[in-house]
Symmetry: C2
Subunit: 272 residues, 2 copies
C-alpha cells in the first residue's frame, strides 16, 4: 500500500494539493493523495483528525499530512493526529511576522480565490472573452484583447487562451493560420492593427500530424506532408511579420502561458 | 513602496505564486509579487540573485523570497541573496526523507505539469471534450462524460466545466435548462440516461439578473421576474428528478469544482 497523504485546507485545498504533489514527486515511490477541503471549524477538524488516524490500520504506516489551516484551534486539532504533519502555513507566517514586524490575521478565507471580488469578475469576463474569441470566431473588440495567439490548427492555442483567462484574467483571443493566409502571404484580416499583441505558437510537424490524426484519422489535414507545409508557411509568415513565437511541442499549457506572460510583460504586474 | 516578494522556481512557479499569495493575504498590507520562472541552471540562479539584491535600493527594505528550487547548487545561490528567503521545498523534503527512510531525487522538472505524459494528454482531451459539449452543443459520446452540469443560462456551468477539465482532466459536459424544459417538465432529451452523472447549479435570481444585464441590458432574458421564474422552475425540476445541486451565488469556480468532485466521488481517486 502506498502511504496516504492528506491535504487539509479550510478552502478548496487545490493549491496545497498541487504543491504537495510537486514535493512528493521528488520521491521514487507512489502515494495516495487525499484532499480534505472546507475544514473551516473545530468539528470538521476533529472529523479530519479521525480520518487521518484511521489510515494506519489500512496502510500499516502512519500517514503524511500537509495542513494549511489558518485557524490556530483547528490547526492544533489536526496536528494532534498520529501522522507526520507538515504545516505549510504557520511555517512561513512566523518568519514573515518577524521580518515585517506585524502580526498576521489568522482569518479564514482571505487567500482563496473568492467570488464577489473585482478580480474574480475579471476572470469570468476574461473566460467569456476568450471563449467568444476562440479560433477566430469574432473580430469584435479585439482592441480589448491582452494577447492574440496565432498558429496553425491544433498547435495549442485554445487551451493556452483558456488557461490565461482562467488563471490570470488575461483576455486572450486566438486566430488560426490557414492555407488561405499562406497563399495570400498575409496575416488574417484585422490582425495587422494589433501587431504588438500577437504571439505565435508553432509545433513539430510530426507531433502535429499525430494530434490531427487522433481527430481526423487518415485525412489530408492530418497528413505529415500537409503538416510540414503548414508549419513551414506559418513560421515563415511569423518571421516576415516579426511576430514573437515559440514551439509548443514539449511544453505544457502552464509553460506556454508563463512564456507568453513574460513576453507581453504581464508577469510582474501583480500587486496584491 | 510595498515590499517586493520574489517567487523563484525552476518551472513556471505558478503553484508557488498562488501559494505565496495566499500566505501573504494574511497580512494587512500590500506586496509586489514578482514571479521568476525557469531558473534551471546556476547562471539563471545568479541572475535571479542579482535581481533580488537590486530590490533594496528601490524599496528601501530587503525583499522576501519564496524559493522552490530543487537543485541544491542553484538554491544555495538564491539563498545567498540579501533577503528573507523562505524555502518552500527543502523545508518539507527533509522531514519527508526522515519519515520515509529514502532520499529525494533533487531532479528538476519532476513535479511540473509536463507535456508528453498520459496525464497531460488526458487533460487536453478533457478540455476538447468540455468545449465540444459546452452549452448542450452535442449529445455525442455523453457516455464518456465524468459529469454533466445542468442549470439555467449564466449560472456558472461553462467556467466550472472548463476548470474541471483543465485542472483535473475531468470530462465535463454542460446543458442549459431552458423554458422549453420547464414547460415540458422534463430534463433535456438524452440526459435521463445519464442521471447518475448529473449535477445541478443554481444561483440567486438577483445575482443572475445582474450577470444577464451585463450581457443583454434591459432584455426580458435579464429581467428579475424572468430570472425568478427560471430559477424556481429549474430548482423544482432538479428536486423532482432527484439531481444533486448547489447554489453558485457566492462560490468561486474552484469551490464549485471541489464540491462537484466530492459529490461525484473523484476527489480522492488520485494516486501519484
Amino acid at each position: 500500500m502506498p502511504p496516504t497523504v492528506y491535504v487539509v485546507s479550510d478552502g478548496t485545498g487545490i493549491t496545497a494539493e498541487t504543491f504537495a504533489h510537486s514535493i512528493l514527486s521528488q520521491f521514487d515511490m507512489k502515494f495516495r493523495l487525499v484532499r480534505v477541503p472546507f475544514v473551516d471549524d473545530a468539528d470538521k477538524a476533529y472529523a479530519a483528525a479521525r480520518t487521518i488516524n484511521s489510515a494506519i490500520a489500512a496502510d500499516g504506516k502512519r500517514p503524511i499530512v500537509f495542513t494549511t489551516l489558518v485557524d490556530s484551534v483547528s490547526n492544533a486539532i489536526v496536528k494532534g493526529a498520529n501522522a507526520l504533519v507538515l504545516d505549510m502555513f504557520q511555517t512561513f507566517v512566523e518568519p514573515l511576522e518577524n521580518e515585517l514586524g506585524v502580526k498576521s490575521s489568522h482569518e479564514i478565507g482571505r487567500g482563496h480565490k473568492k467570488a464577489d471580488t473585482d478580480e474574480y469578475k475579471n476572470r469570468i469576463e476574461a473566460i467569456n472573452y476568450s471563449l467568444e474569441h476562440d479560433d477566430g470566431q469574432s473580430n469584435r473588440n479585439l482592441a480589448e484583447a491582452d494577447v492574440i495567439l496565432v498558429g496553425v490548427s491544433r498547435c495549442g492555442k485554445t487551451p493556452t487562451s483558456l488557461y490565461l483567462a482562467m488563471q490570470y484574467g488575461v483576455k486572450a483571443a486566438n486566430y488560426p493560420l490557414i492555407p488561405e493566409d499562406f497563399e495570400r502571404r498575409t496575416l488574417p484580416g484585422g490582425l495587422t492593427a494589433y501587431k504588438s499583441k500577437l504571439f505565435g505558437l508553432s509545433i513539430d510537424p510530426a507531433r502535429l500530424a499525430e494530434i490531427r490524426n487522433q481527430r481526423r484519422p487518415g485525412s489530408k489535414y492530418a497528413a505529415i506532408e500537409n503538416c510540414r507545409y503548414e508549419i513551414n508557411e506559418a513560421e515563415a509568415l511569423m518571421r516576415r511579420e516579426n511576430i514573437r513565437w515559440l514551439s509548443s511541442t514539449h511544453k505544457s499549457i502552464e509553460e506556454i502561458a508563463t512564456t507568453v506572460l513574460q513576453e507581453i510583460k504581464m508577469i510582474d504586474k501583480a500587486t496584491y
